[in-house]
């Protein structure tokens, strides 16, 4: 089964993970810019990171037959630093022009501070100005519900087209909010702090597969890079049709990403 993992922080993963993903059928990943687990010291640190995402990582992925594209931004956690945000926003456009960059992301909120919100709004303005797709990180755990509401309000206020925005890390208490507002919603198959494959399958059964994107969100933490095929197996074990599984792991992410002309839809195989 060929699938996409449209949210995977491959710079934090080993070559063995690429191999495991390729063996499980992964044909494309998209990698959002994010917090590395430690704070970078300057905007030039981000310039180097953006070069890694646009130059080095695609060649690493290509060795396993995996297409690699990415999203760029200053992540929500470091976005609390408004001075740094201004510096990174200033260098962002030259990197957004690169051929494998699909849009602005993952922007959003972390602890729901005013500074984070201001940096989020700056990124949304830049994205709308340039006609970029937007990928959004919603906060963790107890901060998620409040942060998701603040994000939806800010997007409405900015006049963002919900068709072109993917709000990720949805869970049982936020998925309905996101979908009712017309946005694409993401489920991330991340152990302990996000959605397990079983709970993701429950949400698919409850809410349906429209405008739904699943990914592993694997990063430097205790993550599962084969989360997407694990969800596919869970759905198969529950007796769901292959057509539904293919829609969730292949067609849906392609339908969303294809709105960016730089995205190349992989062959279905």
């Amino acid at each position: 089964m060929r699938y996409l993992d449209p949210h995977a922080h491959m710079v934090s993963r080993t070559t063995d993970d690429y191999r495991a993903m390729a063996l499980a059928g992964c044909v494309a990943v998209t990698e959002p810019a994010f917090w590395a687990g430690w704070d970078r010291s300057s905007a030039s640190g981000f310039a180097d990171y953006f070069r890694q995402l646009t130059e080095f990582e695609p060649t690493r992925a290509a060795r396993f037959g995996i297409d690699h594209s990415c999203w760029l931004c200053l992540n929500p956690k470091e976005g609390h630093d408004r001075g740094l945000a201004r510096e990174v926003l200033a260098i962002l456009p030259e990197f957004l022009d690169r051929p494998t960059v699909l849009g602005v992301g993952e922007i959003g909120l972390n602890k729901n501070t005013r500074n984070e919100l201001a940096t989020f709004e700056d990124h949304v303005a830049l994205a709308l100005d340039r006609g970029e797709l937007i990928l959004i990180h919603t906060p963790h755990l107890e901060d998620k519900l409040k942060g998701t509401r603040l994000i939806i309000d800010a997007l409405r206020h900015a006049g963002a087209d919900p068709d072109r925005v993917w709000i990720d890390h949805a869970e049982e208490h936020t998925l309905g909010l996101i979908r009712d507002a017309g946005f694409w919603a993401g489920l991330t198959l991340y152990p302990t702090t996000k959605a397990s494959p079983a709970r993701a399958a429950d949400m698919i059964e409850t809410f349906g597969a429209d405008r739904l994107i699943v990914s592993s969100a694997c990063d430097w933490g205790d993550a599962a890079p084969t989360g997407v095929p694990t969800l596919a197996l869970e759905l198969r074990q529950r007796g769901h049709a292959e057509s539904l599984i293919r829609r969730i792991v292949f067609e849906n992410p392609c339908d969303f990403l294809e709105q960016c002309p730089k995205f190349r839809r992989p062959a279905r195989g």
Partner: protein
């Protein structure tokens, strides 16, 4: 899946998770300082656990909401620590 199929497939896993939850609480009781049960996160967990006795569907979403920050305004100051898994008000650095 039928109800019987779900029980056949998932019962042992659910049973194991229930035992793990009970073991976590027993472990807290054995802690030398005896303080774990007073942790606001544990109190929030025990409170949310009452949803397990509910007969209404939507238990997961209600537990998620019960553990969430209920406030609506962005905060001014970045708290010292990240998300803890349960909203415990000022105890975890919210400034309002």
């Amino acid at each position: 899946m039928t109800g019987a199929e779900i029980v056949d497939r998932d019962f042992l896993d659910a049973r194991a998770r229930l035992l793990d939850l009970a073991a976590f609480l027993d472990r807290l009781d054995r802690a030398a300082d005896g303080a774990g049960r007073d942790d606001p996160r544990v109190r929030a967990l025990l409170d949310a656990m009452r949803q397990l006795g509910s007969t209404e569907p939507g238990r997961v979403a209600r537990i998620q909401v019960a553990l969430s920050d209920p406030t609506t305004e962005p905060i001014d100051r970045l708290p010292d620590r990240g998300a803890a898994g349960a909203w415990t008000g000022a105890a975890h650095g919210a400034d309002r």
